[in-house]
């Protein structure tokens, strides 16, 4: 046995468990779901079939299309707002706060991350309500009330809150790795602050930002809890529609087809960002 084949065999042996796990509990279930999405419901029972009916329905039923559109809109709005809010925050922490305090500042910025996720959405409900803390406070200074509760604005607020924390972390990690020499060099060459940011700092941190934004998109578009708790039942997102099919109708095939569509959307987003993504360098 040559050294190389021995090495290879060893390599395979090391990779195999993870690969098998992923194949058994990720790839296989997904294929099963694709198969199930072509089944039919007859008299409240699942009948195996090869029927693209669920997909034609998703693509023609205005309710389903609207859910897809809602999900896309909400997630895109959330991603853009979160990046725009998190970048300055990360930059201020990285460049304005003295080194020894940065970890503490960062910890404080992601503190709510450690409340339970379900409770976090619920507490926004209490903040944003007609008689909630926000409106009562605004009332004291003669403003408001803001009609945010039970609306898309509430869903977006809940999402943005979570993702600002996530993105602040990733963007900070990128900013802190930049050598100050780049900026100094650019400044020496006569660039003003804005130019330094636009031509040096931003491009260098772009992969980190895009990776964070992509994860925001993936986590946001697949989330059920936030729109369910905060949206007030005034519009449906794709995950809510999927859970309705599961929870109300027991229609597994349609739920599967909707999930495949969700997966397709995420895959498209992946290819759109692929150029800058560094998923194996999170």
């Amino acid at each position: 046995m040559t050294l190389q084949t021995r090495d290879r065999r060893l390599g395979w042996g090391l990779v195999a468990p993870a690969l098998v796990w992923t194949a058994l509990f990720f790839v296989l279930p997904f294929l099963g779901m694709v198969a199930l999405s072509f089944a039919r419901m007859e008299e409240r029972a699942v009948v195996p079939a090869f029927d693209p009916g669920n997909y034609t329905r998703i693509l023609t039923d205005p309710v389903m299309l609207q859910a897809l559109l809602n999900s896309l809109q909400i997630t895109l709005i959330v991603t853009v707002i979160s990046v725009l809010l998190a970048y300055p925050l990360a930059a201020i922490i990285a460049f304005r706060i003295p080194r020894q305090w940065q970890r503490l500042a960062l910890l404080l910025a992601v503190l709510p991350f450690w409340t339970s996720y379900v409770v976090r959405s619920y507490s926004w409900l209490l903040v944003l309500g007609q008689n909630g803390v926000l409106n009562k406070t605004l009332g004291l200074v003669g403003l408001g009330p803001l009609e945010i509760a039970a609306s898309r604005a509430a869903t977006v607020t809940g999402f943005v809150h979570f993702f600002v924390m996530l993105l602040t972390l990733t963007i900070y990690a990128n900013l802190i790795q930049l050598s100050p020499n780049y900026a100094r060099a650019a400044a020496d060459l006569g660039a003003n602050r804005w130019q330094v940011f636009a031509h040096v700092i931003l491009p260098l941190t772009l992969p980190g930002v895009v990776t964070g934004a992509f994860l925001t998109f993936v986590l946001g578009i697949g989330d059920y809890i936030t729109p369910q708790i905060l949206g007030g039942g005034n519009e449906l997102t794709l995950p809510q529609l999927i859970m309705l099919q599961l929870g109300r109708s027991g229609n597994f095939p349609l739920a599967s087809a909707l999930s495949v569509v969700l997966m397709a959307v995420v895959t498209l987003a992946y290819f759109a960002c692929a150029k800058w993504l560094r998923l194996d360098r999170v």
């Binding site: 090495d7 290879r8 060893l10 390599g11 395979w12 090391l14 990779v15 468990p17 993870a18 690969l19 796990w21 992923t22 194949a23 509990f25 990720f26 279930p29 997904f30 099963g32 779901m33 199930l36 809010l85 300055p88 925050l89 201020i92 304005r96 910890l107 404080l108 910025a109 503190l111 709510p112 991350f113 450690w114 409340t115 339970s116 996720y117 379900v118 409770v119 976090r120 619920y122 507490s123 209490l126 903040v127 309500g129 008689n131 909630g132 803390v133 809150h161 600002v164 994860l215 697949g222 059920y224 809890i225 995950p239 599961l246 999930s259 969700l262 995420v266 992946y270 998923l279 999170v282």
Partner: protein, 255 residues
């Protein structure tokens, strides 16, 4: 410019900390309505939470699922990262892609797929099933972190050990793993955090024994009560204490 920075920082922290603050304040509300006016402080909701058998059981379940699934994900991820970083294998780019892929998929899809597969196999929903799902979501994370951390100096140390006659097992456990202690700890704790707080997989894949997020969800669905606030505050307190302890005692010396 400087003043603007500080103003922004203050507003950002206010936004980030607002819901947690409200949560904690109203966990002491004497009355069932979690909205202003504040009717006076009471500890009775905390008493009810601590006396709630289902909640404490769920807490233990969550801790168990988080630790076990993260350990499995860590071991699988470590071995795979080691294999792919050290040995040139045909199709290694593809394999890396497959291992990372679950990271790009919504948890809901993973949950639904597993639910369907376990149903077909005649397996009942359980904490085990949830744990399997949590390994699926955390394996890519562990793999990515460790793969990124495997540097050249580590390779030379491993080679040296091997040249000195160490078996592959001893190289792995006595050289590679200790050298990667910091990223391994990071990967493990990150996994624990994700598993601890994961809802949809646990919701669809458990039956009677449930994890904490699922129990909190049913608490939320089964009656208006500041108990929800009290649980949330307690979880927050416990997690923050754990994080601070780690920060102080584990990660402090590393930098």
């Amino acid at each position: 410019m400087k003043a603007l920075s500080w103003l922004y920082l203050a507003l950002a922290y206010a936004f980030i900390l607002l819901p947690v603050g409200v949560l904690v304040v109203f966990s002491f509300q004497d009355g069932r309505l979690p909205v202003p006016p504040f009717q006076g402080a009471t500890l009775k909701w905390y008493g009810q939470v601590l006396a709630d058998r289902d909640l404490t059981a769920a807490l233990l379940n969550s801790a168990m699922v988080a630790v076990v699934s993260s350990a499995v994900a860590l071991v699988l991820g470590f071995l795979a990262a080691h294999g792919l970083a050290r040995v040139r294998l045909p199709g290694s780019v593809l394999m890396r892609g497959v291992l990372i892929a679950p990271m790009t998929v919504s948890y809901l899809i993973i949950a639904l797929g597993l639910l369907n597969q376990f149903n077909q196999m005649g397996l009942r929903p359980s904490l085990w099933a949830t744990g399997v799902g949590h390994v699926v979501i955390n394996l890519p994370l562990c793999f990515a972190i460790l793969y990124a951390a495997m540097g050249d100096h580590q390779k030379s140390a491993e080679r040296a050990a091997r040249d000195l006659g160490a078996s592959e097992w001893r190289v792995l456990t006595l050289v590679s793993a200790p050298m990667l202690a910091a990223p391994m700890a990071a990967a493990f704790f990150l996994s624990v955090t994700f598993s601890w707080d994961e809802f949809i997989i646990a919701f669809l894949l458990t039956r009677f024994d449930v994890t904490l997020p699922v129990e909190i969800w049913s608490l939320l669905k089964s009656g208006l009560s500041p108990k929800t606030n009290a649980v949330g505050s307690l979880v927050f307190l416990v997690s923050v204490t754990a994080v601070l302890a780690l920060e102080l005692f584990v990660f402090r010396g590393k930098k």
